[in-house]
Symmetry: C2
Subunit: 333 residues, 2 copies
DNA sequence: CTGTTAGCGCCTTCAG
DNA sequence: CTGAAGGCGCTAACAG
């Protein structure tokens, strides 16, 4: 019994007689033998380790992110790989480059993707396979899975118009984040604007730091701009408590007098709020899983294929949205 | 210039003349050279990779967990290590054993620790260094960092009594989780009970699944048990929206008519709620960081020391707690 | 279908 | 303070 035979049996790299493979596996779990991951990786030039790059977002971490991480980790393990977590800040490319060159990982899944994302040229030039959870402006030749925020934006507007709302505001994330081209923020706002334009409605938009106090102020400003507002769409869930406070502070009730819809938050966050808030939810767990799958496909296939997936968000109506109040219903301006 | 000299220079394993080390590092960042992690690990028998075992909790993931993960990942990288994320379920010991034996990681940091945690004998016998974020019942010889929930429980009771409350209920996590001996749940309840006993007050306790609907029901049941309740302590943040609904549904206002304090939640969750809820918050980021530090200490030191850290929680008063309403103030029974 | 033999890229004893 | 050689545990050609 040669060592190589064992290797072949384990990796299935070569046909092995039923008899010997049986003996090998018997011995293996008798001795509790597990091949050494490092040696295996060194010899085969494939570590079977991938990285998940999760640059801790400046806007603070939400529950959304952990759903990605957990599902990505599960998908990784199910495929017999290990997943290291990289948290280098987005702008710290040097650090990323170093990690890249240590040869520890076979590829990387990137989160928090911006329209013009510097990681893409970095990994391209290094010849390191990668996939995106999210997508950049130019997606040629890149495997990604993203939530369809363009669809989400127009869906919300359609939903609210269907309830009779015509004065619908939009509250984005912070200005730095939006200007830096953070995908969900930019795309949702864009499709909101298009939908409003198409409907001949007036757009009322503001950016807003991701905290309650800022949410309060921003909402007041939106209302100053259009006092007839009866509904608000936001991608800034951390600002929502402030918005709710501003609304109820005026003596309005949710959803009777004012409707609120959050795009991009997960259900678990929505249900923490009072009232539970209507959301357009991306399929986070599915995205984490697919992000890994797309990367592994590149690593395993001989003819690496490019796959681009856009997952629709689900509208989940909870207690924060309802028909436009008749007495406050504005005219189409 | 021999390869070994370069190795010594990089690892500082042996004195190197200033001149040559300068030349080496110059060449290194000119060529962008990074030593191969796998080869280095194989030869030195130290991979410089640690694992964070985060068994996805049955009660669902909260924001708390991601704070651990992020800070642990940062601490890991700052020390020149990589961190893989393991998500094997708690009861799936076989899977854990396999991971353990692949020799990929030098040690592991465990989250979600139970009073009688099967991972401990597993890793002990395997000779794999580990540290805990949380702690088991028997902590002899184990490095851990945990939040002091015992202190937290008595702190809350003291805080509420100071506000005049005498009828204080306790809402725990789900029965399976509590019975399995999940540390925070068990310890907080225990210290609540002690504090109530000491004060000669009546304990009113229930377990509750981690969702809003269950929170509603459980609160009603608590109230049926003691109609004079004016305050509730809970370690079940996902149940809180239901509790809030039940309270306001009775026409009571928070905090004027009823006070609510959540133990163990992070501020970011507390501020999502309406009203923002008073919490006793563990120092999550610090715990993640320390968990890693304790492990690395064992890996690097020649005389591995056992360190046990109990971090106090911070009482953060927000809008959900206040003085006991005079008209509903009960008598000490 | 199985055995033999070089390495994978680095660290770490040896010797100088 | 530096160089030379062996080997970490496995895989992947090469033979048979």
């Amino acid at each position: 019994m040669a060592a190589s035979t064992v290797s072949y049996a384990i990796n299935g790299t070569r046909p092995i007689s039923e008899e010997t493979r049986r003996r090998i596996f018997a011995a293996m779990d008798e001795l509790g033998y597990q091949p050494n991951a490092l040696a295996r990786g060194l010899a085969s030039k494939r570590s079977r380790i991938i990285a998940l790059h999760f640059p801790i977002p400046e806007r603070g971490v939400g529950l959304t992110e952990i759903e990605f991480i957990a599902s990505a980790a599960n998908a990784t393990r199910e495929n017999g790989y290990e997943m290291v977590l990289w948290t280098s800040e987005m702008h710290n490319l040097e650090e990323l480059r170093q990690s890249t060159q240590q040869g520890l990982v076979d590829g990387v899944v990137a989160m928090e993707v911006y329209l013009h994302d510097e990681r893409i040229p970095l990994w391209r030039e290094a010849g390191l396979p990668f996939s995106l959870i999210g997508r950049s402006a130019d997606t040629a030749g890149i495997s990604y899975v993203d939530a369809d925020f363009e669809l989400a934006g127009s869906d919300v507007v359609r939903y609210l118009r269907g309830l009779g709302h015509t004065h619908i505001g939009f509250l984005n994330q912070s200005q730095p984040v939006t200007e830096a081209g953070y995908g969900p923020a930019v795309r949702t706002q864009h499709s909101y604007e298009q939908a409003m334009d198409t409907a001949g409605l007036i757009r009322v938009v503001r950016t807003c730091p991701t905290n309650a106090a800022a949410g309060y102020d921003s909402f007041e400003q939106l209302l100053a701009e259009d006092p007839d507002l009866t509904a608000l769409v936001t991608v800034n869930d951390r600002a929502v408590p402030g918005v709710v406070q501003a609304i109820t502070g005026r003596g309005w009730r949710i959803p009777d007098d004012f409707s609120l819809v959050v795009v991009g938050s997960s259900g678990s966050v929505a249900e923490l709020m009072t009232p539970p808030v209507t959301t357009v939810e991306p399929q986070n767990a599915e995205m984490g899983r697919q992000g890994v799958r797309l990367l592994l496909e590149q690593l395993e296939a001989r003819e690496p294929e490019i796959t681009q997936i856009l997952l629709p968000c689900r509208l989940v109506v909870r207690g924060s949205s309802g028909p436009c109040p008749v007495e406050r219903r504005g005219t189409i301006s």
